[in-house]
């Protein structure tokens, strides 16, 4: 389990130590190739899941796959599938809840639940709801789906962590369109006010929302400038470059929350979906599904997961 070996005593580890520790070990030894491989697996699961479900959100799940893979399999996120509510765990909030498939895929690969459950996505009775439900799935930190709410929840977790003098980190993944929600800026202001340097967000900056390019629908301008003006530390990375992501994840930001603006391509990994807004909430079927699967295929033996 990535992350488990990083459990050291609370007192001896601050943000800097942690990041040093990770840099030395390369985060539980997970190499970049391994993470890339895991990202491919996530994409494979995503396409299979939504294809089977007949609905869902492939575009924003694919754009987040490298981000999520680096977080879960890069030794960054300290979680324990055998003890999902472990009090010292790092918290990950999928604020862009419609990307549930990528979260479910990561949780399954981490061992929170069997990989074959993935194919029940969105079916009656499945724990895998269209949007994540924390009452149904271990490892889902909080239920999301109504955009703009996740960062506030992450702020609450980070405040609690500070109050309890715990050294866990709180992570949240936001969409760029989602940043149009005012609640995101309320939360951003509060995070800076309370100096939450145990809070990090990643913005999946894929430049698309449902109705088209973010710039055209409702421009968010420079998200970096905005978060900086709201008192945050900001990093920009290529959201499909595992190395850059890991490097950013390991940075600390004393006294400030950290926003990582990850430049991504919506639908990444399936050529015909890349950069096409229509694939936000549409799923490939029939021949298209086969083509998509062919692009993200993994070896048969891998398919069964761990």
């Amino acid at each position: 389990m990535p992350g488990k070996d990083r459990t050291t005593s609370t007192d001896e580890r601050g943000a800097i130590n942690m990041s040093k520790l990770q840099r030395e070990t390369g985060g539980s030894g997970a190499g970049v190739e391994h993470i890339e491989e895991m990202a491919r697996r996530l994409r494979y699961h995503i396409i299979r899941m939504v294809g089977k479900a007949g609905s869902g959100h492939p575009g924003g799940s694919l754009s987040s796959s490298d981000i999520v893979a680096a977080l879960y399999f890069g030794g960054v996120l300290r979680v324990d599938p055998r003890n999902p509510l472990w009090s010292e765990r790092d918290r990950f909030v999928l604020s862009k809840g419609h990307a549930a498939p990528v979260l479910y895929a990561a949780l399954a690969e981490m061992g929170f639940f069997p990989v074959d459950v993935l194919l029940t996505l969105r079916k009656m009775g499945s724990p895998l709801q269209g949007h994540p439900d924390c009452r149904k799935v271990a490892g889902v930190e909080v239920s999301t789906g109504s955009l703009g709410q996740g960062l506030s929840i992450a702020v609450g977790m980070a405040l609690a962590g500070k109050l309890d003098k715990k050294d866990y980190k709180v992570w949240a993944l936001l969409g760029d369109g989602e940043c149009q929600e005012g609640q995101v800026w309320e939360a951003a202001m509060a995070a800076a006010h309370y100096k939450l340097d145990n809070l990090r967000i990643i913005i999946d900056h894929n430049h698309l929302q449902i109705d088209g390019p973010v710039d055209r629908v409702m421009s968010v301008g420079s998200l970096g400038d905005k978060f900086r003006a709201f008192g945050w530390e900001v990093l920009s990375v290529d959201g499909h470059d595992i190395r850059e992501l890991l490097e950013a994840y390991r940075r600390s930001s004393e006294g400030k929350p950290l926003a990582i603006v990850a430049e991504t391509v919506k639908g990444k990994g399936v050529k015909f979906m890349e950069g096409v807004a229509a694939w936000h909430g549409k799923v490939p079927q029939g021949e298209e599904l086969d083509r998509a699967l062919a692009e993200v295929t993994i070896r048969e033996t891998e398919e069964r997961g761990q």
């Binding site: 007949g54 969105r122 439900d133 789906g145 449902i210 629908v217």
Partner: protein, 328 residues
């Protein structure tokens, strides 16, 4: 079979041609709410406000104050709960001429699950002073309701579903805010109201809105086959509430059934109970979602699982009629 939202897109374009004051706002869901159809026809009068519903309501209020007739659309969850205070303060309290037309109301949203299934929106909008609340049953009634909303001065909330639905609203019937429609038997609303209240004519009267009108009609068929006399009224106009028709139905029936794709709390069922308790206490069976959240699944399976299909409705009616004293 046609989705109410498709009808909405079409009638919006018609209205756009007829009245230049009509403007349309959406919050990044225009392909789903079908306001994109208007946006294509009248790009200058279509405003995508992005994923910022609260602001969208305020912007609509400002446009209305400047003489426009804004139609504002997004999913019902976000069109009501996400923006309740904005609607309350900037639209209902001011009385501004804003039309909120929400799609994806109810369980039949389907696989997106609880976070996207509005089951409280009727209750939320109904409690707002001055708000008109309409829940059409099909594409045809949607067109009429949207037209009625445009013609009405003041705030209106219209709740539509996601799925294609069969036609139940009688072709050629008129739609009037504040009035229900008697769909079964084939008599007019006025006839039902004028009927001698002492002659109990129905075993059960259904008062329904949205997709539940169809389910109630089907339930009525099942019950009539069992020898029970049924009335079915479409109460698309949840507010103003057609107290006259409701009371007449109650007076002429052993049991009143209120059915909606919504929580059994505070919606159409609440309106029926409040109305009757005040003037003609009657037994009311409320059919709806029993105070819980929805979940992911196919629309039809969800209706079944939550007891909202004709079968289930008929069974519950039968059980009440068989085992209980039913009315006064």
């Amino acid at each position: 079979m046609k989705a109410a939202r498709d009808a909405y897109g079409e009638v919006l374009v018609e209205l756009g041609k007829e009245n230049v004051r009509i403007v349309v706002l959406d919050a990044d869901l225009s392909s789903s709410t079908k306001t994109a159809v208007f946006g294509k026809a009248f790009p200058d009068r279509f405003f995508n406000m992005g994923i910022a519903e609260a602001n969208m309501m305020g912007v609509a209020a400002g446009m209305a104050r400047a003489g426009k007739i804004p139609f504002v659309s997004t999913f019902a969850v976000f069109a009501t709960g996400r923006t309740y205070d904005q609607i309350r303060q900037s639209i209902a309290y001011t009385g501004f001429n804003v039309k909120i037309v929400a799609t994806h109301g109810g369980l039949t949203v389907g696989a997106d699950g609880a976070s996207h299934q509005a089951l409280e929106d009727i209750a939320l909008m109904r409690v707002l002073p001055g708000m008109t609340v309409i829940v059409p049953s099909d594409a045809e009634e949607t067109k009429l309701a949207v037209r009625a909303a445009a013609a009405h001065t003041g705030p209106v909330y219209i709740r539509l579903g996601r799925e294609a639905v069969p036609q139940v609203f009688p072709a050629g019937s008129s739609f009037e805010i504040g009035k229900g429609n008697v769909l079964l038997p084939d008599v007019s609303r006025e006839d039902v109201i004028a009927a001698d209240p002492s002659s109990r004519r129905f075993d059960v009267s259904f008062i329904a809105c949205g997709v539940m009108v169809k389910e109630c009609l089907d339930a009525a068929s099942l019950l009539e086959a069992q020898g029970l006399r049924c009335a079915v009224a479409g109460f698309a106009s949840v507010k103003p509430f057609d107290a006259d028709l409701c009371m007449a139905l109650a007076k002429g029936s052993r049991l009143v059934v209120a059915a909606e794709e919504h929580s059994v709390i505070g919606g159409l069922g609440g309106a029926v109970c409040e109305c009757l308790s005040g003037s003609h206490p009657s037994r009311v069976l409320r059919i709806g979602v029993e105070d819980r959240f929805g979940e992911s699944g196919p629309a039809r399976e969800l209706l079944e699982a939550y007891g909202l299909t004709a079968d289930s409705v008929a069974r519950r009616v039968r059980a009440v009629l068989d085992t209980n004293q039913t009315t006064v």
